[in-house]
Point group: C2
Amino acid sequence: MRPGVDEFDVIQSLSKMLPSPPPEVLVPIGDDCAVLRLGGTEWVAAADMLVSGHHFEGWATPEDVGYKAVAVNVSDVAAMGGTPRFVLVSGGAPDPETALRCMRGVIKACDELGVYPLGGDTTRADSLTVDVSILGELSAPPLLRSGARPGDLLAVTGELGASAAGLLALQGGERVPERLVRKHLRPEPRVETGLAAARLGVHAAIDLSDGLASDVRRICERSGVGCNIGLERLPVADDTRRLAGKMGHDPQKLAATGGEDYELLLAAPERTLEALGEESGVPITVVGEVTAEGVVFLRGGRLVDDLSGWDHFSDPASEGTRGPSSERWKE
Amino acid sequence: MRPGVDEFDVIQSLSKMLPSPPPEVLVPIGDDCAVLRLGGTEWVAAADMLVSGHHFEGWATPEDVGYKAVAVNVSDVAAMGGTPRFVLVSGGAPDPETALRCMRGVIKACDELGVYPLGGDTTRADSLTVDVSILGELSAPPLLRSGARPGDLLAVTGELGASAAGLLALQGGERVPERLVRKHLRPEPRVETGLAAARLGVHAAIDLSDGLASDVRRICERSGVGCNIGLERLPVADDTRRLAGKMGHDPQKLAATGGEDYELLLAAPERTLEALGEESGVPITVVGEVTAEGVVFLRGGRLVDDLSGWDHFSDPASEGTRGPSSERWKE
């Protein structure tokens, strides 16, 4: 089924090669961020790379690409319940004008999302490429992927599928509907909700970059649990439904697999989610339950079994609208 | 003379767009690393990106590229007088096998150079691309580019031109002489010397990535000083001379401009350099003096004025053997 080495094999092989971490490393590779104790304070660290032709096409301006590279890293910090603080940004571009435009997007995102750019690197590359590393500060124990327990509910912030619908519009050559296109190009990471979730003791969290169907499996694998997800429960906005329908997509499946939502998926007892909903300005929607084993997607009481994950080394042309995000090293 | 925007313009424009740094940032963009105070301890942070086709060709294996991406970042920490501690590594590759081979080089370098990989990202890209971000720990005030004073001597560690000679051999289709090729593919950052230099109060330092002729200008600009450099004083090994001669290059000019030496250039009073020479296992060679103004290269008492810098956006095909390194954002 899998020709040659795939991304899973890469990650598995790498994880086995790593030595045991030094004492400052509280959480090593395998979550949205690593966790470090530096001089008595706790920090989270992560990196994400975006590459033109793989993660985006001509419809994204260099400013969009720079902005988004920062936003997706901020989302990783949000998923740990941290406050995003510092980034390093490396950009490869075919010419200095493109590099400058991309870095303008980076700086705009830094300004809007409250992170400070410590520096980085600019260089020549045939494809516009941006890699951002981020340091975030923790003021509560971090939200991990590994804390989900049977009986927890699974909930998502905001809405699903809007970014994927925006991508469909862009791929069709349109920058309308504007709201959906913006959801794709300028995602708004859920920093405040992540902070509140950590404070309230939410059991597990991940940011939805590759799509709920893939990302919920990561929580389940790391936590040693299963889940039932009801596709009818996914929060899908009317404009997303309309656009998906127009382009021949099942809106609920698009919401489950489209990716790049940069919403948070949270596992917690009902009362914790209720408190979070009251504290957070963002809608929190229960989409399923944590079970002892088996990742199950249901619609109308029937099993839906064609929701597959995103492999970052597969051919983008064959991927439909699935997630342009990229993958952390993980077990 | 300069068509359109060049790298200098990019950097100048970016620097002007940055807000004032938060209080944890002791040294912002503009040196080999930024300096941060995190929870009562001081850290340096930097990133460097290597891109296939720009920084290296088919003669470098994916393992070489991964290894070198870590080594050049460790060199930035060495230039600040820090201890390299943690890296985040993002790799883009055309296929998973190449990604895995590159990451094997990364992990080997981490092991040999004493840094721990916190994570990162793997993704698909047409050209093999590796970006490394590094955190280093300070135990003495950092070595900055800005501390050189008239009357200081300028000295370099180790030898110059060996990496450039190795690159000439590789470009000529040979992996011999092995020592020079290895100097190019597997540079040895001067961590111990950097630590001793910081402890001894060396006034200024930079790592030689773009070549002495370019990098000494950075020290002079940041310090508001000038310098005289004697080309005959540059430490050039016999095998470097022979290879350069065979390939039709002036060995001293190759040593001044070839780049990617990853040696340290240091500015300090004579007695400090003597103490450093005694403490460090690496040869320290005085190559010139800091003056009040003007960057001057001399040979046989005559001015040598065709030693130009490396622009990372210029056409690699027209660059001869000049530096495959890349450029930090700087003023």
